[in-house]
């Protein structure tokens, strides 16, 4: 399970315009969003539906928008991560960056929890 402190660093990732982290009840854990309550509702409810469809094989979802500020939903352990990208960045670059970011923080988390 990723440390929230580490997860918040998603804000510094190139191409991220807004982000939100919710738990499975829709409570906001971390955010940088213009309309956090609405974004949290969307990310949590859609995340649950996507999880119902794909179970543990659900990797991510992309809502494509005409203004190119696409919304991504990622399952992260007991949380859902929602990211709105900047319009200049390509989808696949943003997805790769987020996947790498999540992999890194999961690795860090495993290291810090290793028994001495």
């Amino acid at each position: 399970m990723p440390d929230i402190k580490n997860l918040k660093k998603i804000e510094t990732l190139e191409g991220v315009e807004q982000y939100i982290v919710t738990d499975h009840d829709g409570s906001i854990i971390a955010k940088k969003a213009n309309t956090p309550d609405t974004m949290a509702r969307i990310v949590c409810l859609c995340g649950k539906s996507f999880h119902a469809i794909g179970k543990s094989n659900f990797k991510h979802a992309v809502f494509s928008r005409k203004n190119k500020k696409n919304l991504f939903v990622f399952p992260v352990g007991k949380y859902y991560l929602g990211v709105i990208k900047q319009k200049e960045i390509e989808n696949f670059i943003m997805i790769d960056a987020i996947v790498n970011f999540l992999t890194e923080i999961m690795k860090k988390d495993r290291k810090t929890r290793r028994p001495i």
Binding site: S49, N57, V62
Partner: protein, 157 residues
């Protein structure tokens, strides 16, 4: 074409002659209820043209299948592998369209939802307020050529 009884909700397969003046008119084979609700003809209507498009374009090896989901009458055209039942597709269609609609209420410029599950991509587009098309592909998105042809078709019907 698959249509559902308004009374018992069970599946009926209709012949083209059962579409009259923009309506599906049929007696349910399960409960005998007389149905007559608004629905395009499978040959000349919007759905018919999309069905023809799908028949002609789903041969690309990257495409696993596609289906058309109607918000009220559920799966109306099914080009998915036989292993998936209509009831499975109806649940999939419902979850996807609900998610799309929820997001569209806030971000009105949404035009597509893509779900990455395992090594497959599930893409949903709304054709109008009630009808959605779902494409399932292997790993990569729908080929650009097919996507362009489909969007041209939608803009003409």
């Amino acid at each position: 074409m698959i249509n559902f009884c308004e009374d018992c909700g069970k599946k009926n397969t209709l012949e083209p002659k059962e579409f009259r003046e923009g309506k599906a008119v049929f007696k349910c084979m399960h409960c005998g209820y007389f149905n007559a609700y608004k629905m395009d003809s499978p040959k000349t209507g919007k759905l018919g043209k999309i069905n023809l498009f799908l028949k002609n374009n789903l041969t690309d090896p990257i495409i696993i299948g596609a289906f058309i989901f109607h918000l009220k009458t559920r799966v109306v055209i099914n080009h998915m592998p036989g292993i998936l039942k209509d009831s499975d597709l109806a649940i999939l269609g419902k979850l996807l369209t609900d998610s799309y609609t929820l997001c569209h209420m806030q971000y009105t410029d949404i035009d597509e939802l893509t779900l990455h599950i395992s090594e497959k991509l599930v893409t949903i587009q709304m054709i109008d307020h009630n009808i959605a098309i779902v494409f399932v592909t292997k790993k990569s998105p729908l080929p650009k050529k097919i996507k362009k042809q489909f969007s041209d078709l939608i803009s003409t019907i």
